[in-house]
């Protein structure tokens, strides 16, 4: 990435992180306000307020949505801070989990379930966090663009000998989609993924039989 592009990414990150803090403050006020309503409800006599149970149900719903909003802003905030240090040490397990949360909506629109498989140990490498997330997202998008129906995409980080790999595996699909998936490396967007992987000092390969995109990464990148 050139200097100007780096500055642009850092700018986007900084603004997004600032906005997530603001949204968090809004959520905090809603949470305390609904909490106060719950407190007042708890000290109100049953006879004095006949709609108590209905209010409790609604407050529970608000509470659930606050939690949902909170999870979203937490992940968005982490994502926004990704350009703060580059290269930086990252755990591929954590990156995969975060990508699942950030990209789930895109998968859901194609009836695809997105999941992260967890390697037993931490899989730590020094890399460019933004470009790594971009490579994972590009891999997911390539699969989503190609397939016609439902299925499951699983991100599998792993370490074998001296190789660090994230497998983007596709399963539970139809025979038609299996045929389509076997031509994955000839799709239009493959070249873009390969370029991202070159920037990361790695390669993108496919395992046709296993319906998997394999992202090979070096354990450390210096610049």
């Amino acid at each position: 990435m050139n200097k100007c592009a780096e500055k642009e990414v850092a700018f986007f990150g900084k603004i997004t992180a600032g906005i997530t803090h603001e949204i968090n403050n809004v959520l905090a006020i809603i949470k305390e306000s609904s909490g106060l309503l719950e407190d007042i409800l708890a000290i109100t006599e049953e006879d004095a307020f006949p709609h108590k149970d209905r209010f409790k149900k609604i407050l529970n719903r608000i509470s659930g949505q606050i939690q949902r909003g909170n999870d979203i802003t937490t992940n968005l905030n982490r994502f926004a801070h990704s350009p703060d240090y580059s290269p930086a040490s990252v755990d591929l397990n954590e990156v995969a989990e975060q990508m699942v949360l950030l990209a789930s909506r895109f998968a859901r629109l194609k009836n695809v379930i997105l999941k992260a498989g967890h390697h037993d140990e931490s899989v730590i490498i020094k890399t460019h966090p933004v470009a790594l997330q971009m490579a994972l997202f590009e891999s997911i998008e390539i699969i989503l663009d190609l397939i016609t129906s439902r299925g499951k995409i699983i991100l599998f980080p792993r370490k074998t000998d001296n190789q660090y790999v994230v497998g983007v595996h596709f399963e539970d699909t139809t025979p038609d989609d299996i045929v389509i998936m076997q031509s994955i490396s000839s799709c239009d967007r493959w070249e873009s993924l390969e370029k991202t992987m070159v920037y990361l000092g790695g390669t993108a390969e496919t395992d046709d039989s296993a319906l998997e995109i394999l992202l090979y990464l070096p354990n450390s990148i210096d610049k």
């Binding site: 997530t20 803090h21 968090n24 403050n25 959520l27 905090a28 006020i29 949470k31 305390e32 306000s33 909490g35 106060l36 407190d39 007042i40 000290i43 606050i66 909170n70 802003t73 937490t74 905030n77 982490r78 801070h81």
Partner: protein
């Protein structure tokens, strides 16, 4: 724990006044300030046992307020409030003498538990 004097300092007025009201309902003596300067004046006028302090505030920032509290009243326990994913400021605050930190939005029961731990830790 009842009658414990607590000062809440956060620039989000609706957050801090609502949280103070909830703590009052639980028997605490809670007051609220919406900036660091007011918070320090309120400490001088009526010293609380615990200060709940937001890290990110305009003007006098939370960590600067923490330093001043600890310089004048080291016996006051300070619990910091940070944004989600901002553990850096929380850890920095603990190195400056804060008892602990919580991420916003907070859970009131968790906050009360933290306050109990802080009071028990008093020598």
């Amino acid at each position: 724990m009842e009658n414990l004097k607590i000062l809440l300092v956060d620039d989000e007025e609706e957050f801090v006044t609502t949280l103070a009201e909830r703590l009052e309902l639980r028997g605490f003596q809670a007051r609220a300030a919406t900036n660091g300067e007011d918070g320090l004046h309120m400490i001088e006028a009526d010293t609380p046992q615990i200060v709940i302090l937001d890290v990110m505030m305009p003007g006098l920032g939370g960590l600067e307020v923490l330093k001043r509290i600890k310089a004048q009243n080291p016996q006051i326990h300070v619990i910091l409030l940070t944004g989600r994913g901002s553990t850096k400021e929380g850890i920095e605050g603990m190195q400056l003498g804060a008892f602990d930190y919580l991420m916003k939005p907070i859970n009131i029961e968790e906050l009360i538990k933290k306050m109990q731990e802080a009071i028990k830790s008093q020598p």
